[in-house]
Symmetry: C2
Subunit: 463 residues, 2 copies
């Protein structure tokens, strides 16, 4: 098997306010409409994340570059934020062996460590700079626009270090940016820095299958062709307009319906797999930034995605999911058990709390806990669905990412928002840029940064 999406626990009478048999024709019709709207928009060429064949050339350049520099670097450091970092983090966690950066070079078979600096905290940047050898490091600077201030600030700090060390920047920097525009593209041309293109029609949070994700991945030896092949297969399987045969449409439609019909506007993604753990924050950006906005009627809409991980969060969030307000759906990601099992030994036959565990495999325990949690939620009347995947490998991860990107596109049509923009972050950017002295800022930004204040601000000092 490859992927199986089980939505049984979204249905009436399994859960209250679930989908009734009579609702299916309505939902199928609503999805068909949304699918039509997406198709019309797709015809304008804006959904570049689907066009994996058109990007084969740049993917080949990425693979060839990675091959050409193999063995030259002990450390790859990604400078990027949001859509320029979450994909690489998800790929690292899923597709490199655990604790990758704690491994010795021999334990990594000579492949580089992968650091992702996704913030401008000086402590983190100084920390990574203090443990790497610059002559053996490649910095991958990722900004689609070439104008992301956090990433540019990091780049300037790093470049100064490289120059101070007398190193050739063109051998220690690589850029991922717009094919033609922006500061990074200009600098790359001037300084012969290798640069890879994010297609103009691929937005940041949809860019993991472009060089944004594939360059860091390929540099560490991840099979990016398998990743994109899995994504292509999922795309092909989620192009149709028949709700019950389209796993992405079904996810989107049932989440949307749960929100607007059943008041379940918080959408938890809960992989029962450490490998897929960082897929959840990647999904959070995708779902939040694509759907949380002003809709066609001017209303503030959008679900709130929540990242979780099983079995760990059974000891954190599940109490709330079980007994708090019934305002959430949970989507479980299950991985079929593989060959790399660890069996729990029966070392303590006299201890009742332990002896029954003996002989079970750890993977079995994890899977039993997934099904037990789904079962317990359903008995408590809480909605969930379960996506089972054959393995947590590159092919299936590409498929999962495409599934969620396709679902986001459909959900945009269902919520009647443009899933590709993010107008809500502009004000904060402008306020920060003005404070920092950006030359372009116009006078309507002069009101300044302060929280509109009562006088005096209401504070408590401790102690």
């Amino acid at each position: 098997m490859s992927f199986v999406l089980d939505v049984t626990a979204m249905l009436d009478p399994v859960v209250p306010n679930g989908v009734r048999e009579a609702d299916w024709p309505l939902l199928a019709g609503r999805f068909r409409e949304a699918h039509g709207a997406v198709a019309a928009i797709a015809a304008t060429g804006v959904y570049g994340y689907r066009e994996l064949e058109a990007q084969a050339g740049e993917r080949t350049r990425v693979a060839q570059f990675a091959q050409s520099v193999a063995g030259q670097y002990d450390d790859v450091v990604v400078l990027g934020i949001g859509g320029s970092s979450l994909g690489a983090i998800a790929l690292r966690t899923a597709l490199l062996p655990p604790a990758w950066n704690a491994r010795t070079s021999a334990q990594r078979a000579g492949r580089p460590r992968l650091h992702v600096l996704d913030n401008v905290d000086p402590r983190s940047i100084a920390g990574v700079l203090s443990i790497i050898a610059l002559p053996r490091t490649l910095f991958v600077v990722i900004s689609k626009s070439g104008g992301t201030i956090e990433t540019l600030a990091q780049y300037l700090v790093v470049r100064e270090r490289l120059e101070a060390a007398g190193l050739d920047v063109s051998r220690h920097l690589a850029f991922v940016t717009d094919p033609a525009k922006g500061a990074l593209r200009a600098i790359a041309a001037r300084d012969s820095i290798p640069a890879f293109a994010v297609p103009p029609n691929v937005g940041g949070r949809f860019s993991v299958l472009s060089p944004v994700g594939t360059l860091p991945a390929a540099l560490c030896g991840i099979d990016i062709e398998a990743l994109c092949a899995g994504a292509s297969a999922m795309r092909d399987a989620t192009l149709g307009d028949a709700l019950e045969q389209n796993a992405a449409g079904l996810f989107a439609t049932l989440q949307w319906r749960a929100h607007v019909q059943a008041g379940q506007g918080m959408h938890v993604l809960m992989p029962y797999s450490d490998a897929l753990r960082d897929l959840a924050p990647w999904f959070v950006q995708l779902w939040a930034e694509s759907l949380g906005k002003v809709d066609a009627d001017g209303l503030n809409v959008g679900p709130t995605p929540i990242a979780s991980v099983g079995a760990t969060d059974q000891h954190s969030q599940v109490q709330l999911f079980m007994e708090g307000p019934a305002d959430k759906t949970v989507t479980f990601l299950r991985v079929e058990r593989g060959q790399d099992e660890l069996t729990i030994p029966n070392l303590e036959p006299g201890e009742k709390a332990l002896s029954f565990l003996g002989g079970h495999a750890l993977g079995e325990l994890l899977d039993v806990e997934c099904r037990a949690t789904a079962g317990a939620l359903a008995r408590a009347g809480r909605a969930s669905m379960t996506m089972s995947v054959g393995a947590a490998d590159a092919w299936h991860l590409g498929g999962l990412m495409m599934w969620l990107m396709q679902a986001t596109t459909f959900a945009g049509a269902l919520y009647r928002v443009n899933p590709l923009d993010q107008p809500g972050v502009e004000l904060g950017k402008r306020l920060a840029n003005r404070e920092l002295g950006h030359p372009d800022l116009t006078s309507h930004d002069q009101a300044g940064l302060a929280t509109p204040s009562l006088s005096p601000p209401r504070t408590v000092r401790v102690p």
Copy 2:
């Protein structure tokens, strides 16, 4: 300064549905009632997390043990889940230098790496076991009850490895568990394994200042006395019943009011600091598991905490916080800028997108972005508060943790739930244990694990 909580952006007219001047007496009265209820419960001795002086003896044992084994271990591996792992992770991220586990022994000044295995995923456990040297490793097994199946399963796997390697388990295992009861306590006594006590009146999610958090921390050289001194200072400052002088009461009361009065039931914690990044998931457990439950009237209540990190999540969740439904509060954690600054060099004077950054410090950029985001949210009518701390050091971290634990206790009284139990997770545990063959399970659990099913289950297969 130490701590300043600014709640200006929770107030009318700064934000719609904010606290009006006339509301303060009502809120102060409601808090006084809640404070009284907490005081009555506290008198029964259940709030052990506050009793840091009574725990000084065990803390000294922890420190002495850490000192006595200094230099013996390259790796400390915590086996624990939920309340037995989230605290150690938060302490590691905040109080050890960045990328700690990627450092060489020399870069760590000989102190051990700290791995936290908080799941039963065989891949993660095998991964860590493959990169450590057992003769130089200490496994810290943490389970308050001594009966947490995930942790016991890990323990059995690890113990088998230790025995197979011919190692003395009493030198490679340490337990943190109940002082008298449970399987781990019995095994410790039998095998002379060092064991540290979680006081019976300290629940898992409130246990970070007990050996649950302090043992892993002390083994890595963290100053646990400073941690607990900061916590004590905050506790002393949050014992009073005057709302506007009690930062924990104010946090709890304003979050509760925002939920029940203004429909803002999602409570985001957003540290603008990589050091404090993992405080957010620790808070998520605390707030979710303590408050998400059935209240005194039998209603399903509780806010949903959400973890975030700035500036990173400006490129992920902030779009939703700005333009989605006005159903959230955001609590910013700001750290005063320290001495360890990195200044952005002005290397590209000709590039408009970069040149204005030159001369600013990275820490300044981070702080400007925090204030800009808070300002933008307020202008969009979205509620927030900001807690500023003097430094991200052990003393302040202890203070922050105590602040949030005290707030949780007060919030329990405001929501009229018992913040110390977690009855909602029992069903899932029982279902899993039954499937695994636990001997104690009674016949009413016989109905099995399956999701109550339609026949056939509703699934989509891809491709």
